[in-house]
Symmetry: C2
Subunit: 334 residues, 2 copies
């Protein structure tokens, strides 16, 4: 007989034991000189396309250093390592943007970065890691292979592990994006905040920040239906295993982390899922109307809007974090 | 015996008789509520790629209404029509972005817009005109055919002609972009301002503004070598005829206008030319590093940097106006 899995109840105190707004503010003070305060774009054409009087605001983390919000968390984690911890460098595993972010942050700190990447990772993302001076170690494209390779390097080199999402420093760092966004949204604020969810670093950080700064803002996680572990886990309270690399949204293939799950279960209002075709349609729509390059993962919240999955009050102001823009321009999905 | 062509000497007084900074400021007051104050982006990666300590600032008119700076001039012209002039609508000829801009401005004014477009115009640009309620009339892809079709419509309908570039109101409107840009560049200012040149509305407006607001800023026109009428005319002082549709930069196929030529000859410091391959390379480089969609015409100044055509002092701050982002995503040039 197997024990029934532990069902996690929404518990704000548990969430607060992981990351608080104070941590997010401290992270912002630590990193703001090294990141872009990315712009917020709007488009009447896109608003009209979504309909229902929607007013959409897009926080363009595709313009962030390394082309993704991941620069926030990685720098927050690496800049606060004690000298002794940092001395032997850092190690991480990532399918892409976190990898480049760790390489950049390590280079700024003047320490080596060992990056475990799945053999199948996007070649543009691999090239970015190399460009920032990271040392890539390839592995099989499974969560277990990634974690064990990173652990082996940690033991061999003494490098400090910088997890991609299941980490207080990473969650706090990613939360700085919502901090800026809510400020940039001005006095009218945001009724909704739509965020893609993979490992849950950005969604958890966003929820911590939004619920503290602007409690009325609904925070909604958006996930490919093909890798819907977060949606199912959020609904039933039981952390779900990863589902393998079967979505075009290559940044969202990992399962939720433990810490992320606790925060998300406590503070997020809803997690919705979208089809692969909607992701492609949404990506193209954003390219065409906002004139910006976003990667498939970043299109997931827009896909949720296209699918009518986001219940919106009339004239709602919806903030969408466009998470990254690292795309292989020779392999577009249309 | 043919008479020798009139050689135009650089004449600031002649330029000032066409457009002044006061006209540009008046234009900005007229249109600022109806345009985006487009953001200025920078990229260390792109700076490094260009080398020489370059610091590049990109004014993103690809995010402008209708996806191009043309929204500025068209609205400036159409908003200042007297009621009687506006009553019968407006007519223009354009290969694309000016067409959409006139359609948008006319819709805002509540009047019809007749748009003469070459049969060969980019289908995305045609679709935009239709979306903004413009009535397209197709013509052969020559300057003469465009102008005569527009004139015929003007006579038949009484519509007011809104020329695409050879017009004081258009030049002043396009100059508002440089007005914002120089302000956004902050106290460090801009050492160089690089602008694509086709009909010369943007280049002329930029030169008027820059030379009045920031006289030390060098203003450089950038043109495809395949349609180098502006470069040759600038060099010899004789206005050159159009060269036909033989560049990928579909926004730059027209010849300089008369007014534009007078202003450019007086106030612009240099006009450089670039190859078609450099334009494609530059376009892709901007997509990849800035994560934004620009059309080939907008890539021309970046192509000039890639070709080493722009003499830059060390640590120069170069402002580049990214003029538009209307691209057929199904027909990318790589």
């Amino acid at each position: 007989m197997r024990a029934a899995p532990l069902v996690l109840r929404p518990d704000p105190a548990a969430a607060a034991s992981i990351v608080t707004l104070a941590d997010v503010r401290a992270a912002h003070r630590r990193i703001y000189r090294f990141i872009h305060r990315t712009p917020v774009l709007t488009s009447e054409t896109l608003d009209a396309r979504i309909g229902g009087g929607a007013h959409l605001l897009f926080k363009c983390e595709n313009f962030q250093k390394v082309g993704a919000f991941k620069a926030r968390g990685a720098q927050n984690a690496i800049f606060q390592l004690a000298e002794a911890e940092a001395a032997s460098g850092v190690v991480t595993h990532s399918s892409g943007n976190h990898a480049a972010a760790v390489a950049l942050a390590a280079r700024r700190r003047g320490i080596p970065a060992h990056i475990v990447m799945p053999r199948t990772a996007n070649r543009v993302k691999k090239a970015a890691v190399v460009a920032y001076g990271g040392r890539i170690v390839e592995c099989d494209p499974t969560q277990a292979a990634r974690e064990s390779a990173a652990e082996a390097i940690r033991q061999a080199t003494g490098a400090a592990l910088i997890p991609p999402y299941d980490d207080e420093r990473i969650i706090a760092g990613q939360g700085t994006c919502a901090l800026e966004f809510l400020e940039q949204a001005g006095p009218a604020g945001l009724d909704l905040l739509l965020v893609p969810v993979g490992g849950g670093g950005l969604l958890a950080g966003t929820a911590v920040t939004a619920k503290a700064v602007s409690p009325a803002t609904r925070v909604i996680g958006c996930e490919p239906a093909a890798v819907d572990d977060a949606a199912r886990g959020f609904a039933c309270g039981v952390l779900q295993p990863a589902l393998g690399p079967r979505s075009i949204a290559d940044g969202l293939l990992t399962a939720l982390g433990n810490r992320n799950f606790i925060v998300i279960r406590a503070l997020v209002d809803e997690v919705v899922t979208v089809s692969e075709q909607s992701i492609i349609d949404a990506m193209r729509l954003v390219w065409q109307t906002l004139k910006i390059i976003i990667e498939p993962s970043a299109a997931v919240p827009v896909a949720a809007l296209l699918e009518g999955k986001i219940p919106m009050p009339a004239d709602a102001r919806s903030g969408i974090i466009l998470t990254g823009g690292n795309v292989d321009l020779d392999k577009l999905p249309w």
